[in-house]
């Protein structure tokens, strides 16, 4: 081996060591963002989707009621712009046809319109009600509208075992206004990079709710989707389950399907 080659290798090795140690020296905040971004990017490129789901609400006494709804989503691949989504209710029967259209923003308030079928009325609604319950459930509006990467600041706080997987634990702090949470703690697995569990802390800093995401399935286009979301309120002992049917992708939805003028033509 020539001297020149050896020198080159040494320099390269030194450079590699420097790079690695640079990575190790990255802050918990940078690591947190990287992990969240890696998880978020497993979802990039799904395009549009549609899914039917059932919402089961249980109170502390175990009394149960349900809603069935359909959610369509139109992806805006740019991480600085939010997705567009449409929620349409099939039951309870008295609110059948009620629909909520959201144009998510990252830090600004979302644009939202509500369609009331009894009056055939489209109403622009205030989206500052982030922390209010979504249709009487344990999900708040902010839990339900698209979770965008840049809506939070992150911090990596550890690694734990979660149901046989290794999970990174991230603290995420809402950057948008009117959140009902001081912080959230999310478990992201190191195998498929999916969120397995989220804890929500209320404005006093106390644990309020725990969300478990289960029954993950990978679709042909590579994206993962959880098919059972279980939200438990640890302060009231109420619970809401979201049970999803199969997602449908590439169904030919366009951005024109997510405009307010469409709301009266959904059924």
């Amino acid at each position: 081996m020539k001297f020149k080659t050896i020198v080159s290798l040494v320099i390269l090795a030194a450079f590699a060591v420097m790079l690695t140690s640079r990575a190790n020296a990255s802050t918990a905040e940078e690591q947190g963002f990287e992990i969240a971004a890696r998880s978020d990017r497993t979802d990039v490129g799904f395009g549009e989707s549609e899914v039917e789901l059932k919402m089961i609400l249980r109170n502390a006494a175990g009394q149960q009621s349900s809603r069935s709804l359909r959610i369509s989503t139109f992806e805006k691949p740019d991480e600085t712009v939010g997705d567009k989504s449409l929620v349409l209710f099939d039951t309870p029967r008295d609110i059948e046809g009620t629909a909520l259209l959201s144009h998510a923003k990252i830090l600004d308030p979302d644009d939202q319109w509500l369609y009331l079928p009894a009056l055939k009325r489209v109403k622009r609604i205030s989206s500052s009600n982030k922390s209010g319950p979504f249709v009487g459930s344990e999900f708040a509006f902010e839990d339900f509208t698209a979770i965008e990467l840049n809506k939070f600041d992150y911090k990596h706080i550890g690694t734990v075992d979660c149901n046989g997987l290794q999970c990174d634990v991230l603290e995420r702090l809402p950057r948008y206004e009117n959140s009902g949470y001081t912080k959230q703690v999310a478990w992201v697995d190191q195998t498929d990079f999916q969120i397995r569990k989220v804890e929500f802390y209320d404005r006093r800093g106390d644990l309020l709710k725990v969300l478990e995401l289960k029954d993950y399935r990978q679709y042909e286009n590579g994206v993962w989707r959880a098919h059972l979301l279980s939200m438990s309120n640890v302060q009231t002992n109420k619970q809401t389950d979201l049970i999803y049917d199969d997602y449908r992708f590439d169904i030919g939805l366009s951005e024109g399907d997510f405009v307010k003028g469409r709301l009266s033509r959904l059924r």
Binding site: L57, N59, S65, S66, T91, P92, R93, D94, I95, E96, P109, D111, L119, K120, R121, V122, K123, R124, I125, S126, S128, N129, S131, G132, P133, V135, G136, S137, G180, S254, G256, V259, K260, G261, R262, S264, R265, R267
Partner: protein, 402 residues
């Protein structure tokens, strides 16, 4: 149902059965509801001929059939409505709330048939909303509508939504009969409507509406040309009844809403021409909502709206001419969707007040109970509302959904 309606009904039945036959992967949706309603009037009737009993019972049912083809390019809807009232024949009604077929392409939709359309943003009054006739005898709030036969072309573009309506057939307003409450000393004779147009109810009405939003502002601009949905009421020759007289009008309307944080700022305004003189009217105000009051899930909204109407004495009378409306909306955000709306309307000129209370709650999965209470006070003998002074009522309605 008159002959024209019967033949339309028949045509639709044929069309629907054709759709059933070709349904491959088409989607169908069937639903129905039944409503039982009881009203209790707090005072005896004021005018001769009115039902002496202070209770009034009615029954209504709606069926809904919706169809969509497999390619998602066509849809149809068929929604008959039937109401039977024990005290007032004029309140019994058969209507087609919806009966249409629509074809959809990427940027437009063509709809043919009967449909209901709502325009506007304000809560205390719906000034701009003009396509559908009001089923005034159903509820005095004017929010119940009759299906309007139309050809509707909707064009969706980046710059907004444009809707064109061609309406070949006019629907008359419903009025209480001789036996019914909510009428003047003379009842309205709905069998003898009068029209300015020689083509009467077959006058072809036209409307155009543009709607869009720019940031936090939602805007709607509308034009209407045709038969006024509001009639003037003129005494008949014998002087024992009022005849509805439907003028030809042109109306320009604008509706605006500015949505910022928990504030909704709203304005509706119209200019109407065709009666004795051109006039303008407007309603505007705000709604502010306190979310999750006292750490509960409940929201409380505060509403304030001012109503102005510049019409003269030759026009159909408006009671919203110089009035203030203050209201509050409580939503518990519980699984039963419990909600209460309470409001007071105050006439700045005459001092009349109108109190309105509405409360709704679902029981179980498909039973809804609705309460209404409506009270008028301070009307002087010369005021229009004086004729309704004895018609304060409490109403309970039970709706079962299938």
């Amino acid at each position: 149902m008159n002959n024209a309606n019967t033949s339309r009904f028949f045509l639709l039945a044929v069309l629907l059965s054709a759709l059933v036959a070709q349904a491959d992967e088409a989607s169908w949706d069937f639903s129905a509801n039944v409503e039982l309603q009881t009203r209790f009037f707090t005072q005896d009737a004021a005018w001769s001929g009115q039902e002496s009993n202070t209770g009034q019972f009615s029954f209504a049912t709606t069926a809904e059939v919706r169809w969509r083809n497999a390619e998602n390019t066509q849809r149809a809807s068929f929604i008959p409505y039937l109401r039977w009232d024990q005290a007032d024949d004029e309140r019994s009604l058969v209507d087609l709330r919806e009966a249409y077929w629509a074809y959809e392409a990427d940027s437009f939709e063509l709809l043919i048939g009967s449909n209901t359309v709502f325009w506007g943003v304000t809560e205390s009054l719906h000034l701009v909303d003009i396509i559908n006739q009001t089923d005034a005898v159903a509820d005095i709030d004017g929010e119940d509508k009759l299906g309007q036969p139309m050809v509707n072309l909707a064009l969706q573009r980046d710059w907004g939504l444009m809707n064109l309506y061609v309406m070949p057939y006019f629907r008359e307003r419903t009025f209480a009969g001789t036996n019914g409450r909510f009428r003047a000393p003379l009842p309205v004779d709905t069998d003898r409507p009068q029209y300015e147009s020689s083509t009467e109810e077959k006058h072809v009405d036209l409307a155009l509406r543009y709607s869009h939003y720019i940031g936090d502002v939602d805007i709607g601009l509308s034009l209407f040309s045709g038969t006024s949905r509001e009639p003037r009421l003129v005494p008949n020759e014998a002087g024992n009844a009022l005849l509805p007289y439907y003028d030809q009008i042109e109306q320009f309307g604008v509706d605006l809403q500015y949505t910022r944080d928990a504030w909704l700022w709203k304005l509706e305004a119209i200019v109407r021409d065709g009666f004795a003189e051109t006039f303008a009217a407007a309603v505007g105000g705000f709604e502010y909502t306190f979310y999750q009051v006292g750490d509960s899930a409940a929201d409380i909204g505060m509403l304030l709206e001012y109503q102005y109407d510049g019409r003269g004495e030759q026009e159909p009378i408006s009671i919203a001419d110089n009035d203030l409306f203050v209201g509050t909306r409580l939503a518990l955000n519980d699984t039963q969707d419990t909600a209460v709306l309470a409001g007071v309307g105050y006439d700045v000129d005459t001092g009349e007040t109108f109190i309105n209370i509405e409360a709704d709650r679902r029981f179980g999965e498909d039973l809804v109970v609705e309460f209404r209470g409506r009270f008028l006070s301070g009307a002087r003998p010369q005021d229009l509302t004086y004729t309704l002074a004895n018609d304060d009522y409490l109403q309970l309605q039970l709706s079962r959904y299938f």
